[in-house]
């Protein structure tokens, strides 16, 4: 017991020193810590949104919309192809996860099947009896679509929420089709939801001038055309004016490379945009071929405006004007357009926001509770165990330093329940020492000598300490696995606290006890 190998002393010493070194940056304010030279540890504890204030949004990507769009585009291209080949068909339409069509002349079914199959390889295509052909999205491609839609959404969300890259939002994927967005410092989630509320899908369409608008309004929309409402033009009874457009996208907003606030000739706010090479060329072609015809600008299924093409627009630069633009809304739309369209709408499933005042109050209360809890336990241990209580208290304080160091090193997030975890650890950390000291007391009463009693006490208590702490670690692990945000923060501090308490309670006290025994060599021992 008296002799502790030098290497063990060294390991304990080094670990404690590292603990102090990595905990130290938390004493500085964040700017000073960030300015430290690179060879020094400088990471600080990451405060959760509930402590620093901010917004937390759980969003769901409506992937069904993506699938539906893809099915509809397949229907369109099938129609075009079959017409081109002059194959007569019927019953063409999309189902939940596929497309059905029946070829009228069974003799042509084989040929049609060959054409259709090549349209999109993400489908399992089957040729049935009576010229019936079904195309169903394969599991694989359905999954790919979903993953791609979510990944793309994450990227777009990032660009919209943090265009300058200064807000440090955390954007992570959750499960299959969800996105967790956390923005520190933003305590007004309305602002965020406004940015994420629209997909901002921009397309340009020609008008269907052959079809009759009144027929279409009565429900007879010609195939290949669609009826869309205007954003800002209203007819009688306040109903929006309707436009009959060709379904085919003349130019897609995907090709947009930049958008910014501009002003039209009348000095009204507008959105200037520029398309890339491919889009620009298409734009030039369409304007050349359709001079004098109206050209509709469609955003999220609504017609912003349908100006007449006055001249050929080369170079892919253009301007979107609308009677209702304000400087604010034009600026917002240009931000959305340059960030890109969301592949599908987002739904807010869960929203939590904390103002800076509450966060600061929580930190203050947490600090007070921790310090008072610590002081109470420290005093109690000294009263109950005397000198050994002091040893345990030193270990307890070291344990606090180590928890802070571990949280800093691993970049773990400290939440309000996390602070509760630390306070709880203060109470439970001395448990290992209590176990050891009680065991030593017992061994002393059986008539063992001082050295032997202390030695046996440490040895026998060790197994019990392991068993007892592993069960608590199991609970912490499950909390982490099933919990969310703040609760996970609690699990992390609890786990760190238990692990470091095993080290400090056993080794930090042991060295102190050994040194004291060696110095005084007491004949009797009072614990």
């Amino acid at each position: 017991m008296l002799k502790i190998e030098t290497w063990k002393l060294a390991v304990v010493g080094i670990l404690c020193a590292l603990g102090f070194a990595f905990a130290a940056p938390n004493l500085l304010d964040s700017d000073t810590a960030a300015g430290l030279p690179d060879f020094l540890p400088k990471s600080q504890i990451n405060l959760g949104l509930d402590l620093r204030g901010g917004s937390h949004l759980l969003l769901e990507v409506e992937v069904g919309v993506v699938v539906k769009e893809r099915l509809e585009s397949l229907v369109d291209s099938m129609r075009t192809e079959l017409r081109k080949e002059r194959i007569r068909y019927g019953g063409l339409g999309a189902t939940a996860s596929g497309v059905n069509v029946t070829i009228k002349d069974v003799a042509e079914a084989e040929k049609a099947y060959d054409i259709i199959r090549k349209l999109d390889t993400g489908y399992a295509t089957e040729l049935g009896d009576n010229g019936h052909i079904t195309m169903n999205l394969t599991e694989q491609s359905l999954k790919e679509r979903r993953v791609a839609a979510v990944e793309q959404s994450i990227e777009i969300v990032r660009r919209r929420v943090d265009p300058q890259g200064i807000k440090e939002p955390t954007i992570t994927r959750q499960g299959d089709d969800r996105i967790l967005l956390q923005v520190p410092g933003e305590d007004d989630p309305e602002q965020l939801k406004k940015l994420l509320g629209q997909t901002a899908k921009l397309t340009f369409h020609l008008l269907d001038e052959k079809g009759s608008l009144s027929d279409a309004m009565a429900g007879r929309v010609p195939p290949g055309s669609m009826l869309l409402p205007s954003v800002d033009e209203f007819g009688a009874l306040g109903k929006p004016r309707m436009y009959l457009l060709k379904k085919r996208v003349a130019v897609s907003g995907d090709t947009l490379v930049s958008a910014s606030l501009g002003f039209d000739q009348g000095n009204r706010p507008a959105v200037n945009f520029r398309l890339d090479g491919v889009g620009g060329k298409k734009f030039a072609d369409i304007t050349r071929q359709n001079l004098g015809k109206p050209f509709a600008i469609v955003l999220d299924g609504k017609v912003i405006s349908a100006p007449t093409i006055q001249g050929i627009i080369p170079g892919g630069s253009g301007q979107i004007t609308s009677g209702t633009f304000t400087t604010e809304s034009a600026k917002e739309l240009s931000l959305l357009l340059s960030a890109g369209a969301l592949p599908a709408p987002l739904t807010v499933l869960e929203e939590r926001s904390v103002g800076p005042g509450l966060g600061a109050d929580s930190i203050a209360a947490g600090k007070t509770a921790s310090v008072i809890g610590l002081v109470l336990v420290v005093i109690f241990m000294v009263i109950y165990y005397g000198r050994f209580g002091v040893f345990a208290d030193v270990a307890l304080l070291m344990n606090m330093v180590l928890i802070v160091a571990l949280l800093s090193v691993f970049g773990a997030t400290l939440t309000l329940p996390g602070i509760a975890g630390i306070v709880l650890t203060i109470g439970m950390a001395v448990d290992a020492n209590v176990l050891i000291f009680e065991r030593i007391r017992e061994e002393l009463t059986t008539g063992r000598g001082v050295m032997s009693a202390v030695d046996t006490g440490y040895k026998r208590a060790f197994g019990t300490i392991m068993d007892a702490n592993i069960t608590t670690l199991i609970a912490a692990a499950l909390l982490f696995a099933f919990g969310s945000g703040p609760v996970q923060g609690f699990a992390v501090t609890l786990a760190f606290g238990i692990i470091s308490s095993m080290f400090t309670a056993i080794w930090v006290t042991r060295i102190q006890v050994a040194m004291w025994l060696r110095r005084t060599r007491p004949a009797t021992l009072k614990i």
């Binding site: 807010v348 336990v377 709880l424 009680e438 007892a468």
Partner: protein, 307 residues
């Protein structure tokens, strides 16, 4: 100024009086189940979905005024409650019919109705999809924690010990739920975290006593089982009490000083430490007597370990 909490060699009759404890605990559990079935739990929005807004008003005691303003919105049973200070008010709004979008609209309506000059300290909105998942995740967590602990104890000891520990553990979990049903404090995610921690803490206590039982089974080969169990509980009693006391000291500090949000959590933990300590000593240990712990197996195991 050294103090002694217990006599040097306590001889409490934990095992002899076990029927008293069993009946007492059975009544506690029955009462808890009864309360749960009749009064139910006051679930927080984590589990029911809905909206919770904490505001700070410029002047204290505005609660009546706010209630009048919000009552006109027809958002269902709105609850307002003072939260720690007279100028701090917690507003609870039930989940709105129409799902996510309707909830959003309700929050906006509240903000408009309350007007300017109010500090929004916290806004939480949980949609029906998420609240369902949070609820089930909480259930899975508690159940799997109990199973994992059962397996661990079984692995480290014998199945009889595992069973005893799990009975004590379930007792603690059920009565905690009973207490929350009785006082109708909010039962939310943090409470589930507290319940799980209680499970970990309670089992920690139990394991320490079981460890001693096992040691004594090896040491005293002829001592009657009831005496042996009682002795083990008494030998470890000072440790059990000490650890509970230090943990309680820290938790009491948290309860009074940790702020309003954490208070229910601290309360659950305080209850958990008390009931966990009781169940380890007064239930888990005496139960071993009825589980038929076999001395022979323990001896064989010991022989295997020390050839």
């Amino acid at each position: 100024m050294r103090i002694k909490l217990l006599p040097a060699h306590p001889k409490f009759g934990f095992v002899n009086n076990r029927m008293v404890f069993f009946v007492f605990s059975a009544l506690l559990v029955a009462a808890s189940v009864g309360l749960f079935l009749t009064k139910g739990l006051s679930y927080g929005i984590d589990f029911t979905g809905g909206i919770m807004i904490e505001v700070k008003t410029p002047q204290p005691n505005q609660i009546g005024d706010m209630r009048a303003k919000l009552g006109k919105l027809e958002l269902g049973a709105i609850e307002l409650q003072e939260f720690g200070a007279p100028d701090d008010i917690l507003i609870r709004i039930p989940a709105q019919v129409g799902g996510e979008k309707a909830n959003q609209a309700a929050v906006n309506a509240v903000k408009v109705a309350l007007g300017d000059g109010i500090e929004y300290r916290r806004t939480e909105l949980v949609g029906p999809k998420v609240s369902d998942e949070l609820f089930w995740n909480g259930m899975y967590a508690v159940i799997s924690a109990i199973l994992a602990i059962l397996v661990y104890i079984w692995f480290r000891f014998e199945w009889q010990f595992g069973l005893g520990a799990v009975v004590a553990l379930s007792h603690d979990v059920i009565t905690t739920i009973g207490v929350f049903s009785l006082i109708q404090h909010e039962f939310n995610l943090a409470t589930v975290a507290a319940v799980l921690t209680i499970a970990g803490y309670s089992i920690n206590d139990t394991v320490v006593v079981f460890d001693r039982v096992r040691e004594n089974l090896r040491k005293y080969k002829t001592k009657p089982m009831d005496e042996l169990l009682n002795q083990s509980a008494n030998e470890t009693l000072s440790r059990t009490v000490m650890t509970s006391l230090t943990t309680l000291l820290a938790l009491v500090a948290l309860y009074f000083l940790g702020g309003e949000i954490i208070r229910d959590f601290a309360f659950a933990m305080i209850w958990g430490v008390l009931i966990g300590t009781y169940s380890s000593v007064c239930l888990a240990v005496p139960l071993l007597l009825h589980m038929g712990v076999q001395r022979r197996t323990i001896e064989e195991e010991a022989a295997e370990q020390q050839p």
